[in-house]
């Protein structure tokens, strides 16, 4: 009875808050806007080709360095070296210098690249590839092979991909899974931090408002804490559901736009290129549908609830222990660390091997499992692993809530001093 009252109050207090409404409807727009902006800025950044100078009097390499969209090479071999250097320093990104006296074989070790700042890795790669190609060709020739024939003999294969359940797929699907999984893991981290902070702030608010004593003369502190956590989580789930719906709507709108254009009479020339691009998009959309979307959705809800409950009870205990938000900083670090660890471990190991040992272990540890497991779900996780991970998560949750409620019970009535870890530990024994 009183628990549902508290839940309802916390929920309405959160949902009615202006920032909740703004966050819910504005942040998806912001996300899309950011993506567009970043895409645009990247294209602007790469607009101009990098200009590189070459000084190669013997002509060993200059014909092998081909201009591309990203880089243009200019031959300054006609100028004396000192002049060329000066010119390159003023007008070019860098200078490739091949000493006159060396032989072809020395190219492997004797080529210099001089630039004013540390060089772009792509450019160095470019130059090295050109040298390698040249030397390989040279070696083959010496060994008596015909390079052109070898080139012709090379084939390009295309393995047809499908799953045992008979679903066709394509190579880029893994990329899609990484994006979806990584996005979900990241989102869950953000949710835990945002909503955990909300719980903490609400505890601090009751403490500084001094209403806390009135409330706990009516209900047990444990009930108040749970009511707060549950009420706030419901606001979080509501927000996630709204985002999912908005996402689906956006998805269908985009899908139908592309379909309509596909059906329209094809324009010559430009039509061909855009048709290809659209086929790509269609392929991605089709692949997206093949992901275990339902598992991802429910996985998100379950892991959000578990992870959020786990963390927010700690947040609640911290809120109870301190008098103001500024005092909470020192206690927040130990919370943020495992979350960050989860995200980084997820990004590095799950992408590398979604079912590797590290990824599997971290998807079991309750402090990181909500993030890491969610990143793994798009790749397909055995059911038993999901069950074990969820059981561990909720088991830990009960333990941590018990622990946090003890701190909470004492902390909410303590005013005026910033507690130390030692003192909080003492409260556990009261």
């Amino acid at each position: 009875m009183s628990l549902s009252l508290i839940i309802r109050r916390e929920f309405t207090a959160k949902v009615r808050n202006k920032s909740f409404i703004v966050m819910t409807f504005l942040s998806p727009l912001l996300m899309v806007g950011m993506a567009v902006l970043i895409g645009y800025l990247t294209s602007v950044n790469k607009d101009e080709a990098t200009k590189i100078a070459i000084h190669d009097e013997a002509g060993l390499l200059k014909s092998d360095l081909k201009n591309s969209e990203e880089t243009t090479y200019t031959d300054l071999s006609g100028l004396p070296l000192a002049v060329a250097k000066k010119q390159a320093a003023e007008n070019y990104e860098g200078l490739v210098y091949i000493p006159k006296s060396i032989g072809v074989k020395d190219l492997a070790t004797k080529v210099d690249y001089i630039s004013s700042d540390s060089p772009d890795i792509d450019i160095v790669d470019d130059i090295e590839t050109a040298i390698n190609d040249k030397l390989t060709k040279n070696n083959l020739k010496e060994l008596g092979f015909d390079y052109d024939k070898i080139e012709k003999a090379k084939t390009k294969s295309d393995v047809h991909l499908s799953t045992f359940s008979g679903v066709e797929t394509f190579k880029e699907a893994s990329l899609l899974k990484i994006i979806v999984g990584g996005g979900c893991g990241y989102l869950i981290m953000m949710f835990i931090i945002i909503y955990g902070n909300m719980v903490m702030r609400s505890v601090i608010e009751e403490k500084t408002n001094r209403i806390i004593e009135i409330i706990i003369s009516s209900v047990k502190p444990f009930k108040l804490m749970m009511g707060k956590i549950i009420g706030t989580s419901m606001a979080g789930i509501l927000q996630f559901i709204i985002w999912t719906i908005l996402g689906l709507v956006l998805f269908f709108v985009l899908g139908s736009i592309f379909n309509v254009q596909m059906g329209a009479p094809t324009q010559p020339m430009a039509g061909e290129a855009s048709k290809q691009a659209m086929e790509g998009v269609q392929l991605y959309i089709a692949e997206l549908w093949k992901l275990p979307l339902l598992s991802i959705f429910f996985g998100f809800i379950v892991y959000f609830i578990g992870g959020y409950f786990l963390y927010s009870s700690i947040y609640a205990a911290i809120g109870a222990a301190v008098d103001s938000e500024t005092d909470s900083q020192q206690f927040l670090l130990p919370i943020i660390l495992p979350l960050m660890l989860g995200v980084y471990v997820g990004f590095f190991t799950v992408i590398d091997d979604p079912h590797g040992t590290v990824a599997t272990v971290f998807s079991m540890i309750p402090l990181t499992s909500p993030i890491v497991m969610l990143m793994r779900i798009p790749f397909g996780v055995p059911l038993w692993q999901l069950i074990v991970s969820v059981v561990i998560l909720f088991g830990t949750f009960f333990f941590v809530v018990w622990f946090a409620s003890k701190i909470y019970r004492i902390g909410i009535l303590m005013y005026g001093k910033k507690p130390t870890y030692k003192e909080i530990f003492k409260w556990l024994k009261y």
Partner: protein
């Protein structure tokens, strides 16, 4: 009369610090009970235990003869010293919420709220947020929230601190009215004038121990010092003092009280074995007696005397 609240041998410790040392109290039904003590004496600790905010380490509490339990929460109303409400919640919603937490149905809560809002003439505040109200206004709401669920026992921790005189008077009248309707009220305070004015019974807690308890009247009797304030107009003041010190064991000091004439004002303490009548008949022989009143110890005197003796 059977006490509505009985505190039996309650001990509360925080680490090494003893907040309450074997404290026992009996609060009679329908009285206004003053719980006195200097800051840090243990009053708030005791009140929190009665409100089941914290648990005693030893001892027990009986409410209406039953051991205190969860179901008694709705029978107690508590206004803590540090007051507060949700700043950004509307007055009406907030009061409904707090009343429902105390176990009232929404309908009952609404009816009670209407009654109190009308009584205190604050009907227009329903949709205001606390942050839009003045401090005095917020305190009225605080009072309403405390009494809304018609508790049998009301506990006020420093009820008048922060109230302006008009509001303090209003609240005082409401408290007396509640008492007359059968509610028992516990006052925790160190404002002695309000104790003197309102309390039927008192208890004094000092350094975690209960030192005094009983009806205010009895406590005062216990602390009477056989001192009388006397106004007298003797023919010759010097002769009067000389005669008194030679022939009697009365000890007199200058007193300060208000009368209409310019007589000599004294405070005379009776030595063991003498009666007021003997003093009066002696005085009458020395001159015109215009004033003769037993000096009744004020709660303030008792408080200071007890606390500083320890």
């Amino acid at each position: 009369m059977t006490p509505i609240l009985e505190v039996r041998n309650v001990v509360k410790q925080y680490g090494d610090y003893t907040a309450l040392n074997n404290v026992s109290l009996k609060v009679p039904k329908g009285s206004i009970y003053g719980l006195l003590g200097p800051n840090g004496a243990g009053k708030t600790s005791l009140i929190r235990i009665i409100n089941q905010i914290t648990m005693p380490d030893k001892g027990e509490i009986l409410l209406g003869g039953e051991k205190l339990s969860q179901k008694h929460i709705s029978e107690i109303g508590y206004m803590p010293e540090e007051r507060g409400l949700y700043k950004s919640m509307k007055v009406g919603e907030q009061a409904l919420y707090l009343a429902q937490l105390k176990g009232l149905s929404k309908k009952e809560a609404k009816a009670q709220l209407d009654y109190w809002f009308e009584r205190l003439e604050i009907q227009g505040w329903w949709n205001k947020k606390i942050q839009e109200l003045s401090k005095g206004m917020a305190q009225k709401i605080q009072f309403v929230v405390t009494v809304l669920h018609k508790p049998k026992l009301l506990i006020f921790d420093e009820p008048f601190s922060g109230f302006d005189p008009v509001n303090a008077n209003l609240i005082k009248d409401e408290i007396l009215n509640l008492r007359d309707n059968g509610t028992t009220i516990i006052f925790s305070t160190h404002r002695m004038e309000s104790v003197e004015e309102m309390c039927d019974d008192i208890a004094l807690i000092h350094e975690s121990n209960k030192l005094i308890e009983g009806p205010l009247h009895d406590v005062k009797k216990q602390y009477r010092s056989n001192t009388f304030e006397v106004g007298i107009a003797p023919a010759n003041i010097e002769q009067f003092f000389a005669h008194m010190s030679l022939n009697t064991r009365y000890v007199s000091t200058k007193a300060n009280f208000k009368t209409l004439d310019d007589e000599l004002k004294l405070q005379i303490t009776l030595p063991q074995g003498t009666t007021p009548r003997e003093l009066l008949s002696y005085l009458v022989q020395q001159g015109d007696v215009t004033y003769f009143v037993e000096k009744i110890p004020s709660v303030n005197d008792i408080f200071i005397q007890t606390v500083s003796k320890k």
